[in-house]
C-alpha cells in the first residue's frame, strides 16, 4: 500500500496501541481489509489470507466508541446519513463498514447507537485487470447493458473501476467514451474533496456520496454520458434509475452481489430488468489467484 494519505487516515482512526503495528503491515503487505470487533483481536485481511493480532489485547468497547469519534472527526452527527447506511467514508476515500445497534423508528434506522465492528476496506487499484475482457461488453457495435455479479471480496469494485478506465481512455477499443459514474459510497473513485484519487479514466465524471437514484438522473441530464457505471445495485430505486438511464439511450454497467445467475435473478427488481432485456449481459466475476476471470452466464452470445 503506497498511498500516504490513505495510510495516514487509517493510522489516525485506529486506537493508538494498534497504530504502529498496523502501519508496519500496511507498509509491507497488501492489506485489503482491517477488521475490528469488540472483544476480539484485530484481523488484517490480505489477498492470501489473514493476520490475527493475537499478541495484542482484544479491541474494547471504549475503543470502538473512540474509533467512531475519530473516524467522524468528532462530528458523529454530521455523518448520520452514512452511519444509517452502515458505513463511513474517510476523507482519503477509504470506506469503513460498520455494524452495531441502531435506533429504530417505524422500522427505519434513524441513528446508530453503538458500534460493535468496523471493517476498514482499502481500495486497491489493479490496473489492467479488466483489459482482457473489454470486448465482451460490446454487442452489435455498441455497448451492451451489463451486470457483473460476484460474492463479496472478489474484487467487483476493483474490476469495475478498471473497466471504467478502459472505456474512458478507449483501451482495447476504437475510441474512448464519456463515462458517468454514480459512486454512492466513494469506493470506485475514492474521491478526496471531489477529486478522484484512483484512476477512473480521462473522460469520466463522477458523482460521489449521493444515493444512486438521485445521482443517476443528474448525471444523465447534466453530463450526457455514453456509458453509466455504478457499483452494487441493490434496491428497486437503483434499478429504476438504471432503467431510466437505458431509456435515455445510455449504456449501463453495474455490479451486484451474487455467485451465480440464480443469485442475480433472485432479486426481483434485477430479474425484471433482465426479463425485459433492459440488461442484456450478466457476467460472473471470479478470482483465480491474483487474476480475475469473467464468465458470461446470460447474454446475446450465450443465448
Amino acid at each position: 500500500m503506497k498511498d500516504i494519505k490513505q495510510v495516514e487516515s487509517i493510522i489516525e482512526a485506529v486506537p493508538e496501541r494498534f497504530a504502529e503495528i498496523i502501519k508496519k503491515y500496511l507498509d509491507f503487505m497488501k492489506i485489503e481489509e482491517l477488521r475490528f470487533r469488540v472483544n476480539q483481536p484485530v484481523q488484517l485481511i490480505h489477498s492470501d489470507g489473514e493476520v490475527i493480532l493475537e499478541q495484542y489485547a482484544a479491541f474494547t468497547y471504549a475503543e470502538s466508541k473512540e474509533m467512531l469519534k475519530r473516524m467522524c472527526k468528532s462530528s458523529v452527527y454530521a455523518m448520520e446519513s452514512q452511519l444509517k447506511c452502515g458505513y463511513i467514508s474517510l476523507q482519503s476515500g477509504i470506506r469503513v463498514g460498520i455494524c452495531g445497534k441502531p435506533i429504530m423508528d417505524s422500522n427505519k434506522i434513524i441513528a446508530l447507537d453503538t458500534v460493535q465492528s468496523f471493517n476498514i476496506r482499502i481500495p486497491c487499484e489493479a490496473k489492467g485487470c479488466a483489459e482482457p475482457f473489454v470486448d465482451r461488453f460490446f454487442y452489435n457495435g455498441g455497448i451492451a447493458n451489463s451486470i457483473i455479479a460476484a460474492p463479496p471480496g472478489v474484487g467487483k469494485t476493483t474490476f469495475l473501476r478498471d473497466l471504467a478506465r478502459c472505456f474512458s481512455d478507449g483501451i482495447n477499443m476504437q475510441k474512448g467514451y464519456r463515462i458517468g459514474i454514480a459512486d454512492e459510497r466513494n469506493e470506485l473513485s475514492a474521491c478526496i474533496e471531489a477529486v478522484p484519487s484512483l484512476d477512473i479514466g480521462s473522460r469520466s465524471d463522477v458523482f460521489t456520496m449521493v444515493p444512486k437514484a438521485q445521482s443517476i438522473p443528474l448525471l444523465i441530464r447534466n453530463m450526457s454520458p455514453e456509458v453509466l457505471i455504478t457499483d452494487e445495485i441493490i434496491t428497486e430505486d437503483d434499478c429504476k434509475a438504471l432503467e431510466n438511464a437505458v431509456c435515455h439511450g445510455i449504456a449501463v454497467i453495474a455490479t451486484i452481489h451474487g455467485s451465480c445467475y440464480f443469485d442475480v435473478i433472485n432479486n426481483k427488481a434485477i430479474r425484471t430488468l433482465v426479463d425485459r432485456k433492459i440488461i442484456r449481459n450478466v457476467f460472473i466475476l471470479r478470482r483465480k489467484g491474483n487474476c480475475m476471470d469473467l464468465d458470461i452466464v446470460k447474454g446475446e452470445e450465450y443465448d
Partner: protein, 165 residues
Amino acid sequence: MIRLIVGVLLILITIMIGHILNNDTKSECELISDLNKDMRTLMGLVKYERKNMSEILEYLSRLGKAHQIWERMKEEFKHSNDMYTSWQNTIEKIRINEKPYLKELDSFFSDIGCGNIEKEVEKMDYFIERIELIEKEIVPRYQNKMKLIRVLSALGGIALALIAM
C-alpha cells in the same frame, strides 16, 4: 504647591492602577459574553447545517466574536482531532479565572460530537442554558467589582495624597 501636585499625581496614579486592574476584569467579562455568543452560533451550525467540527472551527475562527480562541482551537484540532484536547490546550493559553464557567465548558467539549443529532442538540441546549445562567450571574458581579475597584482606587489616592500633604 509641590505637595498639592504630588497629591494630585498620587490620586491620578491610583486611579490609573484601578483602571488597569479593571481592564483585566472587563476583558474577562467581555470574553465570556463573546464565547457565549459563539457557542450559540456553534449550536446553530450543528443543528441546522450539520457542519462538522473542523468546518465550525474554521467558520468561528474567521467570523466568531472570540475568533482568537477559535483560531487557536482550530490549529489544535488539526493535530489532535479531538475537541476536548483542543479546548484544554487552548484554555491553557487564555485567561479565564471563572472556575464554574470553565467547568461547564470542559464538560461541553468533552462530550461534543459523540452522538446523533438529537442527542447533540439536547446536550448543547442544556450547556448553553447553563453557561448563559453563569454569564448572567457573572456580569453584575464583575460590574460591581469594577465599581468597587474604581472607588477604592480613587479613595486610596485621596488617602495617600492626604498623608503626603
